[in-house]
Symmetry: C2
């Protein structure tokens, strides 16, 4: 039996503050829930409408109406689970790392995490003001990838100062990604905010600046979607290397 | 003075049925409104909170509360305009065309339209069941590109039968886009639904099948975001050609 207090608690996890205070977050949908169950994240509780998942404790069958009440989705799937946070593991520096500076759209962040996993990027480092990767919209658009990619929030400037590596920044003044002659074997690829790009204090630190050139030189469109840009750059760099 | 009936009318344009019945749609945000004003779309009426736009008839200054009431956005910009539909122009076949089969997510469609414009694709053809490009979410995520890219809704199978051209389909069984030896100079690049890909009746018609290979062969992630895939494929094909 799920009481009022429990319902209120689940709904409160929409907010970062409550997620941090309670050390947990919500995952929805059978596929994503299953992927988190296979990961290092510890299940707190699973709510399911139809059938329970075999070999899992801490689950409760609830009716559809209740699920719709506690769900963050317009069309909720039959599974909603609460998981405990895990601490990010040590950042591995022997491959590409993706750094995100002030990314604000949760749908973009989720898509970027999924794209990073596709291209074999295991570590994402986010500026402290980047949207929280445990927000429901990020979890939803990342389609389970949050359970496998190592995501750390830190002071990017300090990290770059303390960890010398090749910094590749996206910039309007960069060189075309199609003209890169020398393969980049490892390093940090830095993407910026949806409207403002990589902040100027970080731009100064970049060793290589790249851009995705526009087909024609007309004014429009002003930019590409950020998650799309990440896909294009990773596709190009991973292939070159 | 904006009356109740007018408010109801604007809000009704959230639905495709009402857009079609009234031959018009909503554009929000100063940037997008300005881009539509420069296009062939005819303005029906502009609602603005702060200042009117110079040299434009049919505008009304309203207060912020009213704008929030009629807006489709969580954080409305100060401009909301209604434009009349235009008929799509004739499809140009001397370049790449992007075909979308049963695309269902409006955010994806908007991002795809914006990406197409970036890479110089002027014509997009959509299956009849693809989400409407005049839906508010599409207009929003396309960032003005709907005003410049020629988008037609048609029976894709019939179009492919009637218009012989090189059909390039994305498929799990396709060849890696990185292994394409022969440049593809023109043709139709076909992308499918977010969950089911290109439908089997269209798959049979493809001349070339391509895929974006995954970095490692593990099970996850199962797929890339559709709009990201479109960006990666266009970036690769446009560069080869």
């Amino acid at each position: 039996m799920v009481g009022k207090k429990e319902i209120k608690f689940i709904k409160s996890l929409r907010n970062k503050k409550f997620r941090i205070n309670n050390n947990c977050f919500v995952v929805e949908g059978k596929k994503s829930v299953n992927e988190f169950l296979k990961s290092d994240y510890k299940l707190v509780k699973l709510y399911t409408v139809s059938k329970t998942i075999i070999n899992i404790d801490k689950q409760e069958v609830i009716d559809k109406n209740l699920l719709e009440k506690i769900s963050f989705l317009k069309n909720p799937d039959d599974y909603l689970a609460i998981f405990e946070f895990t601490k990010p593991t040590k950042i591995r520096k022997n491959n590409f790392i993706v750094a995100l500076d002030s990314v604000s759209d949760p749908g973009n962040l989720g898509t970027i995490i999924r794209t990073c996993e596709w291209f074999g990027v295991n570590d994402i480092i986010c500026s402290l003001n980047t949207v929280d990767c445990y927000s429901p919209k990020v979890i939803q658009s990342a389609m389970g990838s949050v359970s496998r990619v190592n995501i750390s929030y830190l002071d990017l400037k300090k990290y770059f100062e303390d960890n010398k590596s090749c910094l590749v920044g996206t910039s309007l003044n960069g060189n075309s990604i199609y003209d890169l002659k020398k393969p980049i074997k490892k390093g940090v690829i830095v993407f910026g905010n949806e409207s403002h790009g990589v902040s100027s204090k970080l731009q100064e630190m970049m060793n290589i600046k790249i851009k995705i050139p526009k087909y024609n030189k007309s004014m429009y469109p002003e930019s590409l979607n950020l998650a799309t840009s990440v896909g294009i750059v990773l596709s190009k760099l991973m292939k070159i290397s």
